[in-house]
Amino acid sequence: MNFQSVISTLNQFWSNPSELGGANCGCLILQPYDTEKGAGTKSPHTFLRAIGPEPWSVAYVEPCRRPGDGRYGENPNRVQHYYQYQVLIKPSPDNIQDIYLESLKTLGIRPEDHDIRFVEDNWEDAAVGAWGVGWEVWLDGMEVTQFTYFQQCGGLDCRPVSIEITYGLERLTMYLQGVNSIFDIQWNDELTYGDVFLQGEIESSTYNFEASNPELLFTLFKLYEQEAQQLMQKELVLPAYDHVLKCSHTFNLLDARGVISVTERARYIGRVRNLARQVAQLYLKQREAAGFPLLKGKIASIS
């Protein structure tokens, strides 16, 4: 199964799992968000929607940028730009693990042929004041998916709780295709992942570690932070959040460049967290003022 089929199969599955043996929790299939971010969780489809009482079911592919993980295309398992397949369902359904196992079947992985385990792995993203508990899913010893029950987001308690499922698309496809390097993944039947992304990986690694201008990045961080603050004063939630994401990515670039000391590091993370917290609160306030439209007649209960 090639990379693009894996994505379309998952889209197909999550848009209506019940058709494929899963439960009735059809997801909205959305497209990637267009601002750089370190994980699918930071997409507003997840980060903001996990907040508040409104139900929400979504699935989407999200590109992730982790500047420090660049290896100039020389490491077969690690890249600074890759894709996650992200599912978020609120409130978390009772049989979510079973539904997930069904999704593996549609990819041709029969759980009964393998050693599948849910191994404790808790998640925390201090930079956006979010944490949750869950597992890594091991398929014959390989971590293919991350499960997280969101407990807090932007410093706010999640009520009800969302379940987030994040598939490592490259890892999963490498397994399905039996290849040992990300760059050998068949994207379609003609072109490989490397054909499309190897050059970019080399250039971006050079940028992240050597060519970026730290002075400029420090300045950008400050500007993005100011912009986020002034946008929040105007209660423009999404534009403000875009700038929080830009702050977060700029911090990651500075970190990869090795110009942030240990104590400064904590301070920068604190600054991003403050912004994220404020956006989260603002978003909740905005949705509440709108009467939590997605509740559709259900009684809002936030405590």
Binding site: D115, V119, E120, G132, V133, D140, G258
Partner: protein, 712 residues
């Protein structure tokens, strides 16, 4: 005799929580049963990643009836002329008995009305329906979570409840918002090997029913199975399994139906240091490594305790082999890349690693370590090649922090430095010191064995202590983010274990003098540092060396500057004095001199004799003696002073003191005794000086005034 089964079905619990939860039940449930007046023949605890269960066998079907005596009003108010009053009627009514049932009994406060009541025991079904939900919700653990829209908190979501009394379902319920679990006899078997629900016919059939659904519910049995299978699997490939007990415990709670699966990897990966390969296998993959028989050399195999179908072992092994290959390729990639350049060439990159904001980079720390190490070498009279090695090891000791391997596996710091030093052609002593300087990593860990490793390790810790203290970041209570207590403890332990003749006072003085980032005055900083070290010495003597509390005080002095200075300027001596005191306490030599020396010490404290003065002829005037006992005391002190001649031979001192003890006691007691506090100030002074000289000789060993009298 009914049996009761409770099974709490969950999503996969963290491995550690399974044990923690069962342990909580183990300590609580017997007490809860006792409180309910219930007996049982046996309580069995079961758990897997997906369930926690308890089976209580041989319960009574109900609580025993209980007699209760209720005291009512005084007889005087309850009965007037033999007739019940309103008070009696009210009491009888409240207790639900007829007036006939009231009895009058004498008490210390006169006659009172009593009623004897029989309380019917409740059926266990009744009690358990009410109580069992709290057995579940009362469990504690780290990082509990909420799920769906409920307010329940548990380690992972609860999914089903089984509760049976013999073959009857006991109704229990846990409800919160739309979450609602009601007990039944339906359990779930193995997630993929038995996808359909399994019905448990009666409580005692629990273990066998689940076994038929591919779940071994007994953790102890699973652990035994895993261990024996893993060992047998290693045998099959001609090796011996390395079974880390913590890993075994964890793996036991990651699987419900264990079977050992062996996989192999390319032997070329064994060129990677075995520490790396082992870390990959144990910490990242939860595999058991395999080593050769009769040696520690790894073999290119691993064993995993699979939770899958044993018939699919080949597929499972192949999948795991791919994973370990990718991980080991990573490791090999790092190992090869790191060794392309000599270790020394990583030094400039250490400038980008911050040690602490105000104390600069790790690169500048390395320079400070070098400077301190050279002071240490001077104190220890180390010269020549060893001294060169110390400087080189100090320079390179942190270089591996910026290698890719240590970036990936921080726990291999030092270990990789040693390997890379060797492959860079550094002297063996330097290579070994790079890994040794991190020792001990915690309480009870091994200590550095080479002098180079010892000196660099001491220098690194001294730099950290002075640097962080200098910023005023002094540990308080449980807050010790830089692990300074551990660092100071390590310094004392290394010094003691290697018998290093260090003068910590001089060292601290010298380091503080060259520090430029001080937020404290040098005097205050030194005072705080020395106090901190003294506390470590005190704790180590008491806790690690089990020296009695008062004896530790006696060698460290209680608020006695002289002893403080002395302890830190000679750590070996303070250790030796403390152990010696303990030895002579244990063998009785201490009690032979205790009375006289302690008494002399306490009385001498009222005089003002210099504590350094040991010569009686310099401060005592024989012309003022009034009694023979004074002269005898004086002679004994002269004898003592000549015997010791300023040498600190503690055994000899104790011997000499015990010889003089009878003489001294005649000074205190009996017909020839004197009153020290004579009205004539000269005589008084003279007698205090006699005592003072004796005290001072005792002080060479310890402050006898601080030693407590022990019942013999």
């Amino acid at each position: 005799m009914p049996s009761f089964l409770l099974e709490v079905g969950t999503e996969e619990l963290p491995a550690r929580f399974v044990d923690e939860a069962l342990n909580q039940w183990r300590s609580r449930l017997p007490k809860l049963l006792t409180e309910l007046n219930l007996t049982s023949e046996a309580i069995e605890y079961y758990g897997t990643p997906r369930r926690l269960a308890v089976l209580i066998k041989g319960l009574p079907s109900q609580q025993p009836d209980q007699d209760e005596e209720v005291k009512g009003p005084p007889a005087k108010t309850a009965f007037k002329d033999g007739q019940p009053t309103k008070a009696a009627e009210g009491f009888a009514q409240k207790q639900g008995v007829s007036l006939d049932a009231l009895e009058i009994r004498p008490t210390e406060k006169g006659d009172f009305v009593f009623v004897q009541k029989r309380i019917k025991g409740r059926a266990i079904a009744d009690l358990f329906t009410e109580q069992v939900p709290q057995w579940i919700t009362g469990l504690d653990g780290k990082r509990f979570m909420r799920w769906s829209d409920g307010d329940l908190k548990f380690s992972r979501p609860i999914r089903w409840l089984v509760a049976l009394i013999d073959d009857e379902v006991l109704p229990i319920a846990i409800v919160s918002h739309s979450i609602s679990y009601h007990s039944s006899r339906q359990s779930l078997g193995h997630r993929v090997l038995h996808p359909n629900p399994v019905s448990i016919p009666n409580a005692e059939a629990y273990v066998s029913t689940l076994a038929s659904a591919f779940v071994n519910v007994d953790p102890q049995q699973r652990q035994t199975t895993i261990e024996s299978q893993v060992r047998a699997a290693a045998e099959q490939v001609g090796g011996i399994a390395i079974v880390n007990p913590d890993l075994l415990r964890e793996v036991t709670n990651l699987v419900e139906y264990p079977s050992a699966v062996v996989g192999k990897f390319d032997a070329e990966f064994l060129e990677i240091p075995s520490e790396v390969v082992t870390t990959e296998m144990e910490s990242h993959q939860r595999y058991f490594p395999v080593c050769q028989k009769g040696s520690k050399e790894l073999l290119p195999y691993f064993i995993t305790a699979s939770n899958g179908d044993p018939k699919k072992a080949d597929i499972i092994a192949a999948g795991n082999e791919r994973v370990i290959r990718a991980r080991l390729s990573d490791g090999k990639f790092f190992f090869d890349a790191d060794r392309k350049v000599p270790l020394e060439s990583y030094l400039p990159k250490l400038e980008t690693v911050t040690f602490q904001a105000d104390l600069g980079s790790v690169r500048s720390k390395v320079d400070r370590i070098g400077a301190i190490a050279s002071q240490l070498a001077t104190q220890l009279n180390i010269t020549g090649e060893t001294s060169t090695h110390i400087q080189r090891a100090a320079l390179l000791c942190k270089a591996d922090l910026v290698t890719q391997m240590v970036g990936e596996f921080p726990e291999l710091q030092g270990v990789m430095g040693e390997k890379y030093a060797r492959s860079s052609g550094e002297p063996e002593a330097v290579a070994v010191a790079i890994s040794e300087h991190y020792l001990p990593k915690g309480a009870g860990d091994a200590l550095p064995q080479t002098i180079v490793g010892q000196v660099v390790g001491l220098a690194d810790r001294l730099d950290t202590l002075v640097g962080i203290f200098g910023l005023g970041l002094i540990p308080s209570g449980s807050s010790d983010p830089f692990a300074l207590r551990r660092a100071a403890t390590a310094i004392v332990n290394i010094t003691w274990a290697a018998n290093l003749n260090l003068n910590l006072n001089e060292l601290l003085d010298a380091i503080v003098t060259t520090s430029d980032q001080l937020k404290l005055t040098p005097e205050d900083l030194l005072k705080q540092l020395k106090e901190f070290f003294l506390q470590r010495v005190e704790t180590l003597l008491r806790e690690d060396r089990t020296i009695d509390y008062d004896l530790v005080n006696a060698v460290l002095g209680e608020n006695d500057q002289a002893y403080t200075e002395r302890a830190l300027s000679n750590l070996l001596d303070v250790r030796d004095r403390a152990s010696f005191l303990q030895t002579i306490r244990n063998d009785g030599r201490l009690s032979a001199i205790y009375e006289t020396v302690n008494r002399a010490s306490r009385l001498a404290a009222q005089g003002n004799l210099d504590t350094q003065q040991l010569d009686p002829t310099a401060v005592v005037r024989p012309d003022l003696f009034q009694k023979n006992s004074e002269k005898a005391f004086y002679d004994a002190l002269q004898q003592l002073n000549q015997t010791m001649q300023g040498h600190a031979d503690y055994a000899k001192l104790i011997d000499a003191l015990s010889q003089s003890a009878p003489t001294v006691s005649r000074f205190f007691d009996g017909e020839d005794s004197v009153l020290v506090m004579d009205d004539d100030p000269d005589i008084k002074q003279n007698r205090l000086n006699l005592l003072g000289i004796l005290r001072n000789h005792g002080r060479v060993l310890a402050d006898f005034g601080a030693i407590a009298k022990q019942a013999s």
